[in-house]
């Protein structure tokens, strides 16, 4: 091609090498699009299966309790620790603005609404994602590459019932509880910060914080934590059960589980907030 005269190819068929390159690029694009659709389809099927499994036997109750212990109880320390400091930081940040208008008493309202509606469910879910979506993906991925999942199927057990449903249900049950803990400890942290830095009274802070909340705020936080929990657990399970490439693939899937879950949670948060505000306006 380098020796060809300029414009020689005009009006003619492109050289074979370019045809190959063009078709291979389009093939790659079509192939990756098909693969993406397939992944979404596989994920949707697994997520749906994790729910439909609840309505038929067998049900692995002991596995559910084990997972609730591992995901729920195991996450309490980090949720409480971060919740406390998030509440305190919220007070310090909002107070710096309220001080300018002499409205520091509104700090309790702002912190309470922000925590219950938004930060509680989102941050708790992101923390549980970092801790548990990665754990679920690596555990199931390791089981897959060491043929334990095949062994389970070979012994007549449906892995989606034994491995997926207990993890998804356990997460959906414990994340809202963890969110409530995080909200409460966040308010405690906010209260401590308000008392120490703004010289607000404890009773004043708590009265404003509680009065600011409406039922719709609590329902919004609850709805979000349930949806986020379902996302993080189902994505963790999906990435674990679709590991490719041995132990290296387990590491890759674990990272992907955290990244995909986190992004999905934040994207879902936007739509859920809009939906919750719309419903609150219509219903309450």
């Amino acid at each position: 091609m380098a020796d060809s005269p300029p414009l020689q190819g005009i009006g003619k068929e492109p050289p074979p090498s370019e045809v190959v390159r063009e078709s291979s690029i389009s093939e790659i694009l079509i192939g990756s699009a098909k693969e993406s659709v397939l992944r979404v389809q596989e994920y949707s099927y697994l997520a749906l299966q994790s729910v439909t499994n609840l309505f038929s036997r067998p049900f692995y109750g002991q596995d559910l309790l084990d997972q609730m212990d591992s995901i729920g109880v195991g996450s309490i320390p980090i949720v409480l620790l971060t919740g406390f400091f998030i509440g305190a930081v919220m007070v310090l940040q909002t107070a710096s603005q309220f001080v300018r208008f002499g409205q520091t008493s509104l700090t309790g309202d702002a912190v309470s609404l922000a925590l219950v509606r938004e930060l509680g469910p989102t941050l708790t879910s992101l923390l549980v994602t970092g801790r548990c979506a990665s754990g679920i993906a690596s555990e199931l991925g390791s089981m897959l590459v060491t043929e334990q999942v095949d062994a389970m199927r070979a012994m007549g057990t449906d892995p989606s019932r034994k491995l997926v449903t207990p993890r998804v249900l356990a997460t959906v049950l414990v994340v809202p509880l963890l969110t409530v803990m995080s909200d409460f400890i966040g308010l405690v942290g906010g209260c401590v910060a308000a008392v120490l830095s703004l010289r607000l009274g404890v009773v004043q802070f708590w009265t404003r914080a509680i009065d600011a909340l409406e039922l719709s705020d609590i329902l919004q936080g609850g709805l979000k934590s349930i949806v986020f929990a379902f996302i993080l657990a189902s994505v963790g399970c999906y990435k674990g059960l679709t590991v490719r490439g041995g132990t290296q693939g387990v590491g890759r899937s674990t990272t992907q589980a955290v990244v995909i879950s986190s992004v999905m949670i934040i994207v879902a948060d936007t739509f859920l907030t809009k939906l919750a505000l719309y419903l609150a306006e219509k219903l309450f």
Binding site: P58, E147, Q148, A151, A154, M155, G156, D158
Partner: protein, 273 residues
Amino acid sequence: MTNPATTEATISFRAVRLGFEEGDIVQGLSFDVYPRETLVLLGETGTGKTLSLKMAAGLMRPQQGEVNVLGRKVSEMPEKALLAFRREIGFVFQEGALFDSMTVEENVAYRLREEHVAEEEIEPKVREALRFVELEHAIDLVPSELSGGMRRRVSIARALITRPPIVLYDSPTAGLDPVTSQTIITLILRLRDTYGVTALLATHRLQDGFALANFYFDAESNRVLPNDKKTTAKTEADSNTRFIVLRDGRVFFEGSTEELAAAKDSYLKRFLV
């Protein structure tokens, strides 16, 4: 000897094809395994031995062809029916595939607990299975505390706990030292000659196949003995062990021990060296 003309095959592959992105791994594979027979699948890595076992257990579905096991078309059965059907099949995975979060007892008893067998019946059965593989003392250990050979033995105990009529072995001696390999082969011989299971054994070690063909387990003396042409044991053991050599996903050779040992083909000779 089982007469193929008059007996229905326990496992039957017909023109089976299975491939992935990189190409077909198994193409046009056909063979039969008859009742109480041990079929040794020989082949180099990547020739489709493990895939064949997984298709026989319904863990993978062929893209073309038919796989029949115990008269059921497993290649077309829905997953739910397969889950129940697989209880007829014992599967010994290459590395044992023990559940690493469970103890040896929980691993071996897994299938019984899934079938809701009463707890008081489970312990004697588990102990009997572990006694068979000479690992009763390891009942409370977890897989990480076991050696490679012990893991395979526990895996055999787990496979035989429900006395399935078919056992599939995926390279049961791969990566083991010669002494441990011999222990595993002895267990397979005992399982064959004590319970009369039909077996499909994938391996790349010809000596495993020859050991199965040339030895038998004598229950009276509780020892593995070489076949003696004067006894009926020889006739039964040898005639019930056949070899299939896979190459490029197809059957390259099918025959008895003698036919394989007498082979002149350079590919087959690689296994004989």
